[in-house]
Symmetry: C2
Subunit: 313 residues, 2 copies
């Protein structure tokens, strides 16, 4: 499977895509490229970094809301309402923005980023798309009586607990999981796509519910995860990761999906996951995810990106 | 050949690179991937869109300087001095900024772009990295008595003259050259990498001189083309194109090089051309082109991009 950029009628560039689709038993039911491709799960691992909040009793202890749990799984758009909710979440677990170790960055939503530039909003840690995940990590530390300082380090018990969670849900022994530093400063995990897909078939309980009921928090207005989940309510959970990773759960079919655009292109990964979900079960996908027009500096549409090829069964 | 992104010690993403290295007879002397890969030449075709200025007597007619010719071949950084020179070039050929059909865009140099944002500089057509090429096209139209209006259209004699030039230097019959609209609005040309490389071995005369003597105009301060040419004065001409294309001439060796990063990644293409030139003849390359550190939102270096693999002879 490729995501191709056509300029006029000629192929200009192309992005290779590796896909694994598995059922709850872990059987590979469809694939493209190399379903065993090993890479970092990045933000698509967030649900499994959030699951300890439920399993260890953190959610119950602090009375976390569904929105809190959704934000712990989110790569949110830094929308004002999302940032306000993370601030409440922080307060609920007895922490403040000062405790967050995520670095700020331009909002993942262009519209939000431009709004903040126009209004001169100063970006701080809570504006990071990962601020919900980090707040969840702080809650986990508080609950267990671990220090909240240095919670981002791989040797800190918070990161060790997340690593264990990832190992459990993916069936990958912890010592076989590659570890490095994510864009937001905490640990990120490398493993085969097939195992990531398997983990998504095991999503369940309050975390699954939170993601399904709050697509507007998982990403944000106009972004692919939110749009795909809204297009098929209750049928799908989708979660983007940086560098071209995408995971999904087809709820009714019980299928887990993970794909990687080999070169890390994020627009290509959104087009690819929409095409894969359409091929497996969910048509139609949002029109913005069928193809992406390529425009030039004169505002002319001079080409488009679109998916070529499909899954092998 | 790949350009790889390593996060920590684990490979995360990779970019495939196709390379053709040919001598003046057109013999393929080294390669990687598919040297016949067909894609758009984009801005790496500019020297061949500028050659009619010399061949048709335009340079002589208007008394074009070496700097004018260099700018006609450039993807410049929109530096104030570069923009001022393009304005003089426009004047010299009896045109003004109003005649330019290139759309403005954020400067290709981050430093320049940030400076203009800070100072609130309004970007106009002359700030386009292609404004020198467009001025050359206006000069060509004036010289031949062709209308200067609509010079960007493929059916306009200016574009037909450029197409003919590309066909002649690449040995590709004009009817086999793919045509689409470039980022700046004029025609761009699709053909095999090997033929693009051949054309570079045929660069000669005032255009070659202009590029060699003005590396500061071909790109700009801190950008790869300028840095590579400065590192080995008189030994090499390099020219970037959008979507991961790079061409070069090794002057002393008489070798032409063209590469394409399959997925269009521009940072990967700069690392790749530096590695190819180093392998063929030119060591050392500027340190900034040996590898590119990957930093996260906390400012930590968490990985790097670097080239893996080399040429086959």
């Amino acid at each position: 499977m490729f995501v191709e950029l056509h300029r006029g009628t000629v192929l200009e560039s192309r992005h290779r895509v590796h896909v694994a689709v598995v059922d709850a038993s872990g059987t590979l039911v469809a694939q493209a490229g190399d379903p065993e491709y090993r890479t970092f799960w990045r933000s698509a691992a967030k649900p499994f970094q959030a699951l300890p909040l439920v399993e260890d009793g953190v959610a119950e202890r602090f009375g976390l809301s569904r929105q809190d749990l959704a934000l712990a799984c989110a790569s949110h758009s830094s929308e004002p309402a999302q940032v306000a909710l993370v601030r409440e979440f922080l307060q609920r677990v007895g922490c403040s923005e000062r405790d967050l170790l995520c670095g700020p960055h331009r909002a993942l939503s262009d519209a939000v980023a431009r709004d903040y530039e126009t209004r001169g909003v100063r970006l701080t840690a809570v504006y990071s798309n990962c601020s919900g995940k980090h707040t969840g990590m702080l809650a986990l530390a508080r609950h267990h009586g671990w220090p909240t300082e240095f919670y981002a380090r791989i040797e800190h018990p918070v990161q060790q607990r997340c690593l264990k969670s990832v190992g459990t849900y993916t069936d990958v022994p912890v010592q076989d999981i590659g570890v490095a530093v994510d864009g937001c400063g905490v640990a990120c995990f490398a493993l085969p796509l097939r195992n990531m897909a398997l983990a998504y078939t095991r999503l369940d309980g309050p975390i699954l519910e939170a993601m399904m009921l709050h697509p507007e928090l998982i990403a944000g207005e106009g972004r692919p995860c939110t749009e795909m989940m809204r297009a098929h309510p209750g049928r799908v959970v989708t979660k983007v990761g940086a560098e071209g990773v995408y995971s999904a759960l087809l709820v009714r079919e019980g299928l887990g999906v993970t794909l990687k655009v080999e070169d890390g292109h994020s627009v290509a990964s959104a087009l690819a996951i929409a095409a894969v979900l359409a091929e497996l079960a969910l048509k139609p996908q949002p029109p913005s995810l069928l193809k992406k027009p390529i425009t030039n500096s004169r505002g002319e549409t001079v080409g488009e990106m679109r998916v070529s090829g499909g899954l092998a069964r």
